[in-house]
């Protein structure tokens, strides 16, 4: 435990120091990742990853299990501090600022919902933590859009996995973030849920919403992402364009 405390403090100092020397371009970029290294204990999970996410872009992260997809996404939301390298969000080198945190919505592999609270209460709690105005209207809208309005007053622990996933995504959208980060969002969804998610992605693309998501589904990634980032053993091995990149979509529109 002492080692954990020491590592935490050392990493905190290291990243604070790094943050001062980081230069963020800012304009036009939702996230700028440079030379990112992440370690768990002594094991490197991400090695020298560089990635710039332009505002309005949709990025899919693919790779085999253990490639570092979830860790990369956690770094993108500031949940994991890098051992080296830098991450900038909307021109800021830290997520400690409240205004930066309010611009990020994240759904991890675990839904992270309070089982004892109802679906509605989970959304209201997220809204209150983010200082959202008109939280009741916003929550009602999201429950309706997620097709779970009939479950609003049921405890989250009694919902099916798919319903919980929809609720977790709705929770991440409560504060209308500029950057949405989803870790394998379709993993618990049935066919209807996957269709709902595809429609959601389509809507985000049309609205110019910045989205980063991890997926094992090449077809889904190709159809909804502007760029697909391939990770293997913590390294970025390839970046390819999606089937219908944003530029093409906007030109055709």
């Amino acid at each position: 435990m002492l080692r954990t405390i020491k590592n935490t403090i050392v990493r905190s100092w290291a990243t604070d120091g790094a943050a001062k020397s980081v230069s963020c371009n800012g304009s036009g970029y939702a996230v700028e990742v440079a030379g990112l290294v992440a370690v768990y204990g002594r094991m490197p999970v991400l090695r020298d990853v560089d990635l710039d996410v332009v505002e309005g872009e949709s990025i899919a992260v693919m790779g085999p299990n253990g490639a570092g997809k979830s860790t990369l996404l956690k770094c993108l939301v500031g949940a994991v501090r890098p051992a080296a390298g830098s991450v900038c969000w909307f021109g800021e080198a830290t997520t400690r600022c409240d205004h930066v945190r309010r611009q990020i919505g994240y759904v991890g592999q675990e839904c992270g919902l309070y089982a004892e609270l109802t679906a509605l209460e989970n959304l209201l709690f997220a809204g209150r933590m983010n200082g959202v105005a008109n939280i009741h209207d916003r929550a009602a809208t999201l429950l309706t859009e997620g097709g779970i309005e009939s479950q609003a007053h049921r405890p989250a622990g009694q919902l099916s996995q798919g319903m919980r996933q929809r609720l977790a995504i709705a929770r991440a959208l409560m504060h209308e973030p500029r950057l949405i980060v989803l870790d394998e969002p379709s993993s618990n969804l049935d066919a209807a849920g996957r269709q709902w998610l595809e429609r959601l992605f389509e809507r985000w693309r049309c609205a110019g919403q910045t989205v980063c998501f991890a997926s094992h589904d090449a077809a889904q990634s190709g159809s909804v992402a502007d760029r697909i980032v391939h990770l293997d053993a913590g390294r970025m091995v390839a970046i390819e364009r999606g089937d219908c990149p944003l530029t093409t979509l906007r030109q055709s529109a």
């Binding site: 435990m1 954990t4 405390i5 935490t8 403090i9 990493r11 905190s12 956690k74 939301v77 500031g78 949940a79 994991v80 501090r81 997520t95 409240d98 205004h99 945190r101 309010r102 990020i104 994240y106 991890g108 675990e110 839904c111 992270g112 919902l113 309070y114 089982a115 004892e116 609270l117 209460e121 709690f125 997220a126 209150r128 933590m129 983010n130 200082g131 405890p155 929770r171």
Partner: protein, 228 residues
Amino acid sequence: MPARQTINSLWWLIHKDLTRELRAQHVWPGMVLLGLVLVFLLATQIDLPLDQKARVGGGLLWLAVFFAGTLACDRSFTGERDAGCWQALTLYPVAPSVLFLAKMAVNVAALVILELVLVPAFIVLSDVPFAARPGPLLLIAALGNVGFAAVGTLVGSLTSGLRHRGGLLTLLLLPLVVPVVFGAAETTRLLLTGEIDSLWWRWIQLLAVFAAVFTVAGAMMFEFVVED
């Protein structure tokens, strides 16, 4: 963060934890039961004249309260982590110190519930007149609760992330709260023997300083604990 938003966040964090506990009753029933068992064992085993019971009764009562209270401190973070909610909680635009103070307040509430049950039970079982001077006893309980909850919340947050944490919280927490147990026991003894003098106030000051130091230190250090 504006002060109003901070206070709102603090309130809704406390509200969320209390709602969860009242609905699921993960910890409090077990904690109260453990406290009652301890009180029953301790109170019925003191075969002493009443004036001597009054000398040792305070120490035994607070030992039972704080020992049972470790359950609340243990669960305050493991409950979040087991449900996978901890990460989401740390990503909200809420200062880590607010998270700490909210968890600490819920632990204080758990100790108050515990004391509301254990003090009358101890009085009934041992005849020690704890309720004779309720004002000073409330002061001792308030300072003891805050000091214990501050240390318990901080240590609970540190141990909750460990894989092999079984019993570690109790092992770390009880030695750290020795000043609180001593302070509460000694002030209660002096109270029951009618010796509210400068020595009593000195113990009260110790409890107050301990509570203040660990509350401030916990709130300041919590940022480092929040990180995985």
